[in-house]
């Protein structure tokens, strides 16, 4: 995403915050972890554009 400084890599272009291959429960859990990670990013200082991977 051009110009964004805190970027969390999405699952895919067509479903950035979900994964149709997972069960409904697992997918919600994945999405919850992604939002949780986004919250961590929002409370982390960055010097320049930084890309986080979804997990890890």
């Amino acid at each position: 995403m051009v110009g964004a400084n805190r970027v969390l890599r999405g699952v895919s272009i067509t479903h950035p915050t979900g994964d149709p291959a997972l069960s409904v429960g697992d997918e919600l859990e994945l999405r919850r972890r992604m939002v949780d990670r986004a919250l961590n990013m929002l409370s982390t200082p960055v010097e320049s554009r930084t890309v986080w991977e979804a997990e890890g």
Binding site: G3, G18, D36, L42, S43
Partner: protein
């Protein structure tokens, strides 16, 4: 020399916003600012700004048919100053005329989305943001229009006072390449870098982090074209020049029976099975309930990010950000596709 001039409903004296839905019109001779050009304007054509924005294909086909009929030696559009819709229409009409071999001049503020819409095909003369710069703009347009009409050579942007068109022209120089390269290097060492192009790009310094998400109000924003089922407010699938805001009051999930995406830039099948795959509301609500998020903002913001000129996208971003800031939002999770 045959001059056709393009204006909008306002400069044609038809009315302001209440007449912005006026379909294409054609008038004999000069009207409004066309009278100040000092050129003999054969025909004035125009269109309401909203009509052009909402029915671009229909408007263009009527306007281009009139242009083909008149076959002018030059088309003059505007000036549009800082007016986004008018500038966009001027840029598009001038571009399409230029593509059809009719030289075209328009004028507007350099940040007007019409500059990008013009795509380097016509000449765009920079103006101030408001109509107060009319007096100094019209003679510049007329001078360039005169040159184009007479098929005279037109110099570079610096020389003639138009915005760079990103056109490269080959010219023959007397000195060999090696000595020109040395000259350029020496000039650069002396601090003169005007021969180098400035790379495009919009760099924003990273904002400082929020202290604690559990004490923050966080908003969900997306360019994924997510809207209520049936797209009640007609968000365009592509080339959106607008954004929308929808209440999340009492909404815990973007369920497929109530929401969908109209984005025209990707396969929407998976997203339409579960729009939370685009805007993660269900998960964010859980985290809000658990105290991890202080509060989710009462609205989510949406647009379709497809083929939108960067200048327009930047303007939409600024508008949304202003609203969020004034609503007390501290952070945004923006999902893109």
């Amino acid at each position: 020399m045959t001059v056709v001039h393009y204006i909008n409903q306002f400069f044609a004296g038809m009315g302001g916003e209440e007449k912005a839905d006026t379909p294409p019109f054609r008038l004999d001779g000069a009207t409004g600012p066309g009278r100040g050009l000092g050129l003999e304007v054969a025909t004035t054509i125009g269109c309401g700004d909203d009509y052009f924005a909402e029915h671009e294909d229909e408007a263009l086909s009527a306007l281009l048919a009139w242009l083909e009929e008149a076959r002018p030696s030059v088309l003059v559009c505007g000036p549009a100053f800082g007016s986004g819709r008018y500038g966009y229409a001027c840029g598009v009409v001038a571009r399409e005329a230029a593509h059809r071999g009719i030289p075209a001049v328009t004028a507007m503020h350099q940040d007007n989305p019409g500059v990008l819409a013009a795509d380097g095909a016509p000449y765009v003369i920079p103006t101030g943001t408001s109509v107060t710069s009319m007096r100094e703009t019209l003679p510049k347009m007329a001078e360039l229009a005169g040159k184009l009409s007479r098929a005279e050579a037109v110099g570079g942007p610096d020389e003639e006072g138009y915005l760079p068109r990103h056109v490269r022209r080959n010219t023959i120089r007397d000195e060999p390449g090696a000595s020109r390269a040395i000259d350029l290097l020496l000039r650069k060492l002396a601090g003169d870098v005007r021969t180098e192009a400035k790379p495009p790009g919009d760099f924003v310094a990273p904002p400082p982090p929020i202290a604690d998400p559990a004490a923050a109000t966080i908003a969900l924003v997306t360019e994924a074209g997510c809207v209520p089922q049936g797209n009640p407010d007609h968000l365009p699938s592509r080339r959106s020049f607008t954004w929308l805001r929808y209440s999340l009051d009492g909404v815990t999930s973007l369920s497929a029976d109530r929401y969908e995406t109209v984005h025209g830039g990707f396969d929407t099948a998976a997203a339409n099975q579960d729009p939370n795959r685009l805007v993660p509301l269900d998960a964010a609500r859980e985290l809000e309930r658990d105290g991890r998020i202080g509060r989710l903002h009462d609205f989510f913001y949406t647009t379709s990010g497809v083929n939108t000129p960067v200048a327009v996208a930047a303007k939409m971003g600024q508008e949304i950000a202003e609203e969020l800031v004034s609503s007390g939002v501290q952070a945004v999770i923006l999902t893109g596709t």
